[in-house]
C-alpha cells in the first residue's frame, strides 16, 4: 500500500530505528488516521526483517575468539616478509651499483691547466730546488762524466787540484778542450 509522500521518509526512519522523538510523535499522530501509512510501515518492517540475516550461532561466535590470534600471526608473517624483501632489495641495489662501477669505462681526468698565478709561482722557484737542494750536489754533477750511465759514482772531491787540472776546472777551457780535443 502506498504511503503518504510526506511521511514516506519518516516511516523508513522509524523502521530503520533512526527517528527523532518529535518526528516519531508526528508520524504516530498521522498514522492514527491513515491506514495506508500504517500498512506501509508494516511492509517496510517486514522487508527489512526478511532481508536481515539470522543472529550468528554460539558456535560461530565462539570461533571468532581465534580471529585476533590469526590476524596477529598473519601480521607478523607480513612484517617478516617485508623485512626480508627490504634486505633482498638492498642487496640487489648494492650488487647493481658494484657492477655498474666495475663495468663503467674509466676515463683519465683532464689535465689541470695551471693558473697564471700558479705558473708564476712555479717559475719563481730557485734553481737549487729543481736540481738538488745543496750546491755540493750541483758541483758533483758538473764534474761528472757526461757519458756515464749513472750518477752513482761521483768524482771524489779533492781539496787541491793537481798540476794541469786547473785548466780543466776552468769552464771555458773545459769546453774548448771538449770541442777541439786535438789542441
Amino acid at each position: 500500500m502506498k504511503a503518504c509522500v510526506e511521511f514516506e521518509g519518516l516511516i523508513l526512519d522509524r523502521a530503520a530505528g533512526e527517528i527523532s522523538p518529535e518526528d516519531d510523535a508526528r508520524l504516530e499522530a498521522h498514522q492514527a488516521g491513515c491506514k495506508a501509512c500504517r500498512a506501509a510501515e508494516r511492509e517496510t518492517r517486514q522487508a527489512l526483517e526478511f532481508a536481515a540475516l539470522p543472529a550468528p550461532t554460539a558456535a560461530e561466535l565462539a570461533a571468532l575468539d581465534g580471529v585476533a590470534q590469526g590476524v596477529r600471526a598473519a601480521l607478523r608473517a607480513a612484517e617478516h616478509r617485508r623485512i626480508w624483501m627490504r634486505g633482498a632489495l638492498a642487496g640487489l641495489v648494492a650488487a647493481a651499483a658494484a657492477a655498474v662501477l666495475f663495468l663503467w669505462p674509466h676515463k683519465t681526468p683532464p689535465a689541470v691547466q695551471p693558473t697564471p698565478a700558479e705558473e708564476q709561482a712555479s717559475n719563481a722557484q730557485p734553481e737549487e730546488a729543481l736540481i738538488g737542494s745543496s750546491g755540493e750536489e750541483l758541483e758533483i754533477w758538473a764534474q761528472s762524466d757526461p757519458f756515464a750511465d749513472t750518477f752513482a759514482e761521483p768524482i771524489p772531491a779533492r781539496a787541491t787540484p793537481e798540476e794541469g787540472e786547473t785548466a780543466l776546472l776552468d769552464p771555458q777551457t773545459h769546453v774548448d778542450l771538449y770541442l777541439n780535443p786535438g789542441e
Binding site: L53, P54, V67
Partner: protein, 211 residues
C-alpha cells in the same frame, strides 16, 4: 591523558586498563607504534561487526571467519600505510575502513564463488523453527531466502548501504563515512533499496496469489 604513556617511538600508548575506553584512533596508533596490547582490544571491539557484514557473502561459517581475519589484516595494513600521511590531528577512521573492506571482500568472495549458491550461511541458519504451523514456517523461510537473494542483486551502492545498516547496524553517518558519501545520500540509497525489496516481495506475493 591519564590512561596513556609515551611509547618507545614517542607516540601515546594507552595503558592496558585504559584500552576499553580509548578511541579506535588511539588504539590503532598505539599498535602501529609497537604496543601489542591495543591490538586485541581493537579486534575484540569490531570482530562481531566484520563477521556480521561478511557472512552474507560467505558460503560457510569458516569462510566468514577467514574473511573476517582478512578484513582486519587489510585494515591494519591500510592504517600502517596511511599513518605517515595523516597529521597528528587527523583521525584514523578504523571502523569505517573495516566496514568498507569487509563488504568489498565479501563481494569479491561471492564473485569468485559463483558456482556455489549465494548466502549459504543464511540458508543454513534459516531452517524453520518448530512452531504452531510448519507450513507457515516453511513459507516464511522461503520468503526470507528469496529476499536475501534479492539483497545481493540490488545495485551496488544500495546493497552496500542496506547491508551496512541491517547487518552491521551502522548509523547513517557511519555508513556515509565508510562509503565516502553524505549521510543524506546514504538515506536515499537505503530508501531506494527498501522500496525495491518491497516491490519485489509484492510481485512475488501477487504471482503466488498471496495478499
Amino acid at each position: 591523558m591519564g590512561g596513556e604513556r609515551i611509547g618507545a617511538r614517542g607516540h601515546l600508548v594507552p595503558l592496558p586498563g585504559a584500552d576499553a575506553q580509548a578511541s579506535d584512533d588511539a588504539l590503532c596508533r598505539a599498535f602501529l607504534a609497537g604496543s601489542e596490547a591495543p591490538f586485541g582490544e581493537l579486534v575484540r571491539r569490531h570482530q562481531a561487526l566484520v563477521y556480521a557484514l561478511v557472512r552474507r557473502y560467505a558460503q560457510r561459517p569458516e569462510d566468514a571467519r577467514d574473511l573476517t581475519q582478512r578484513a582486519f589484516l587489510r585494515a591494519f595494513e591500510a592504517a600502517r600505510r596511511a599513518l605517515p600521511r595523516l597529521s597528528k590531528a587527523g583521525e584514523i577512521p578504523f571502523k569505517a575502513w573495516l566496514a568498507r573492506i569487509a563488504i568489498n571482500l565479501g563481494k569479491n568472495h561471492l564473485r569468485q564463488a559463483t558456482r556455489w549458491r549465494p548466502a549459504p550461511v543464511a540458508a543454513l541458519e534459516s531452517a524453520p523453527e518448530p512452531g504452531p504451523s510448519a507450513a507457515d514456517a516453511l513459507d516464511r523461510a522461503e520468503r526470507e531466502k528469496r529476499t536475501r537473494a534479492a539483497v545481493l542483486e540490488l545495485p551496488r551502492r544500495q546493497r552496500e548501504v542496506l547491508t551496512l545498516r541491517i547487518d552491521g547496524g551502522l548509523a547513517f553517518a557511519e555508513i556515509a563515512q565508510a562509503l565516502g558519501i553524505t549521510a543524506n545520500a546514504a538515506k536515499v540509497h537505503f530508501h531506494h533499496a527498501v522500496q525495491r525489496l518491497k516491490a519485489r516481495m509484492a510481485n512475488e506475493d501477487a504471482e503466488e496469489g498471496r495478499g
